[in-house]
């Protein structure tokens, strides 16, 4: 008897939590398919009358600049992710395979930096970006994103460590230098770590709002998140377009999550547990 009650309670709480989580999202999806009249006259809970009405998506994507936003986001992410992966792998390779005088200092610098919240330092970083002539450029974002952190280094370290040193030595006997060992022996063995870092850093870059908000002002250089933010002013009176913009922003992340769940979960827990 009590067991049945406990079981029921368990499922009731799960259903309530799922409804609370999904309802705000579902209502935005509803809104995105309604036209202005329908959005303003029907209840938010009423599903749209025409699920094939894609006018809002077109407005958001073309006029609203979400399309340009995606192009910019992809450009920034491709370069920044390549840089971030290489940086973390370089650092992990040096830290694992060599014992050098400054090794502890380097590790310490990365660990201490993890304690500095990014939001605090931007007041000063802004002056630096301006001085470098990078204000209002996508390059500023690329540079700020591609630096590596202790978490990425740690994820790579675990994999570098698992590569037998005999492989390095065999390559060395064949006359390979360290750069060649890194690219031919180490990097190809880091694929799972690369996937993890690309996914967690990629999601963070895609969702980043604060940095593009500070550093990129021209509409034609904006990534997705600030392009969406601009909707608040531009379409402040057309919430159905804002809803479409929100849906467009979420879809890529949803697809990634559905198809790469295991990597996503592993990435976030690798960053912070055990």
């Amino acid at each position: 008897m009590t067991a049945t009650v406990a079981r029921t309670a368990k499922y009731v709480t799960l259903v309530v939590a799922a409804v609370v989580t999904l309802l705000p999202l579902v209502l935005v999806v509803f809104g995105a398919f309604k036209d202005y009249r329908e959005y303003t006259t029907t209840s938010v809970m009423t599903p749209p009358s025409d699920w094939t009405n894609l006018a809002n998506f077109r407005t958001a994507f073309v006029d609203g600049g979400m399309g340009t936003g995606f192009v910019n986001t992809v450009l920034i992410m491709v370069v920044a992710l390549a840089g971030a992966v290489l940086n973390a792998a370089f650092a992990a390779y040096a830290l694992d395979r060599f014992r050098f005088a400054a090794r502890r200092v380097v590790l310490g610098l990365f660990m201490l930096a993890a304690l500095v919240p990014e939001v605090t330092t931007q007041v000063a970083t802004f002056q630096l970006v301006k001085a470098l002539g990078l204000y209002n450029s996508r390059g500023a974002l690329v540079l700020l994103y591609m630096g590596t952190g202790i978490i990425s280094i740690y994820i790579f370290l675990q994999f570098v460590r698992a590569i037998p040193r005999s492989l390095d030595e065999a390559a060395m006997l064949d006359g390979a230098g360290h750069v060649r060992i890194f690219f031919r022996v180490i990097l190809p063995n880091l694929k799972p770590a690369i996937a993890t870092v690309v996914i967690i850093r990629g999601i963070a870059m895609y969702n980043e709002f604060y940095l593009p908000f500070l550093y990129v002002s021209s509409p034609d250089k904006r990534p997705v998140s600030t392009a969406l933010f601009a909707f608040k002013g531009q379409y402040g009176a057309q919430w159905e377009v804002i809803c479409a913009g929100v849906v467009i922003t979420i879809v890529p992340i949803l697809l990634l999550f559905l198809f790469m769940q295991r990597y996503v979960y592993n990435g976030f827990t690798a960053g912070a547990t055990k």
Binding site: K10, T13, L14, A17, A18, T21, L23, P24, L25, L27, V44, N87, F90, A94, L95, R97, F98, A102, R103, V106, L107, L109, F110, M111, A113, A114, L115, V116, P117, V119, T120, T121, A124, F126, Q127, L128, L143, M146, G147, I151, Y154, V160, R161, I163, R165, S166, D168, F209, Y210, V224, S225, W239, V246, I250, I253, Q261, Y265, T269, A272, K274
Partner: protein, 321 residues
């Protein structure tokens, strides 16, 4: 972020084995190596460390310097003003109010962790559609902060989703101006924060709970323990480090809230947070000196919290050092 320091005991058996053999030679301190050989690791760390110094440490140093000047961000000269900016940051009521606002987010973080712990416990046992529940609860964490703000503007607007649900439940009397009422705005915004971040805590806790060996539950059950005993005597003690870590992240998170309140209210109706105010001070009022002092205060606060947590929850040393 601090977490890496916590995992001393993550073994890397293959590497250990490899390192112990004759191959370990590579790792010995190279006393008589030619200088070109000794330079190799520095070449590899040059770019990552260079970026770190340039974009993290250099700004932090500058921030300390700006914070004792009256700089406006444009002027060629910066006049030294001593601790005036700190005095302003810590005494002006408007500057102090933001700390009060962060208490709402901290309280919300505690609620969020309790919920996360509950759902992690429930889902660590046999449940139908386990992966579906897990995915639903976690997904909000992956959504863009601007989108989250807009989703909830749509949800809490007058006659929006929340009001409709309350009406359907016969609770019309509970309907309020969710973001328009200064007495309520921070509760609303902090609740959105719970919606957004609960999934992350939940997945962390779930991972920690699932790493508890099954035999422990079996042994406990033989001793007559019920689920409640299991929660208090097995699960909670095993996940204490991760709970401590999430708690400290909750404190620094509560101090650095930005996106959702900025998108939903732009800091209006008394919902201004520390970061919103710092950005406004630096970039709208052009008071870079004062904004830097505020940022230093935030940095020190976060470092202090981290330090206290380290003292309270003794950590195992990291194995990468």
């Amino acid at each position: 972020m601090t977490n890496v320091l916590q995992r001393a005991d993550r073994p890397a058996p293959a590497a250990r084995a490899a390192g112990a053999g004759p191959a370990g030679r590579l790792a010995r301190t190279p006393a008589r190596r030619p200088w070109r050989q000794r330079l190799v690791p520095y070449v590899f760390v040059a770019v990552p460390v260079g970026l770190l110094l340039l974009f993290t440490y250099w700004p932090v140093l500058n921030m300390f310097w700006y914070s004792v000047t009256d700089w406006d961000g444009l002027d060629k000269t910066k006049n030294f003003v001593g601790l005036d900016n700190y005095a302003a940051a810590l005494t002006e009521p408007d500057n102090l109010r933001v700390f009060y606002v962060s208490l709402y987010y901290f309280a919300a973080a505690l609620v969020q962790m309790a919920l996360a712990l509950y759902f992690a416990t429930v889902l660590s046992f046999k449940v139908r559609f386990r992966n579906m529940w897990k995915g639903i609860l976690f997904f909000p964490y992956l959504i863009n902060g601007v989108a989250v703000g807009m989703i909830f503007l749509n949800f809490v607007k007058p006659d929006g989703g929340l009001d409709t649900v309350l009406t359907a439940l016969g609770l019309e009397g509970a309907i309020r101006q969710w973001t328009g009422d200064p007495a309520l705005v921070n509760v609303t915004l902090a609740s959105v924060s719970v919606w957004r971040y609960m999934g992350l805590n939940f997945v962390m806790f779930l991972g920690a709970i699932q790493s508890i060996p099954r035999e422990m539950y079996e042994a406990a059950e033989l001793d007559g323990a019920n689920r409640w005993h299991e929660l208090w005597l097995i699960i909670l003690p095993s996940i204490r480090p991760i709970v401590g870590l999430q708690l400290i992240l909750a404190i620094s998170g509560a101090l650095s809230v930005f996106e959702v309140p900025y998108v939903m209210t732009a800091g209006g109706n008394g919902s201004e947070t520390f970061v919103i105010r710092t950005v406004w001070t630096a970039f709208s009022r052009n008071m870079v000196g004062l904004a830097s002092a505020m940022a230093v205060v935030l940095l020190v606060a976060v470092l202090l919290v981290t330090w206290v947590q380290r003292r309270l929850v003794p950590e195992r040393q990291v194995d990468i050092a």
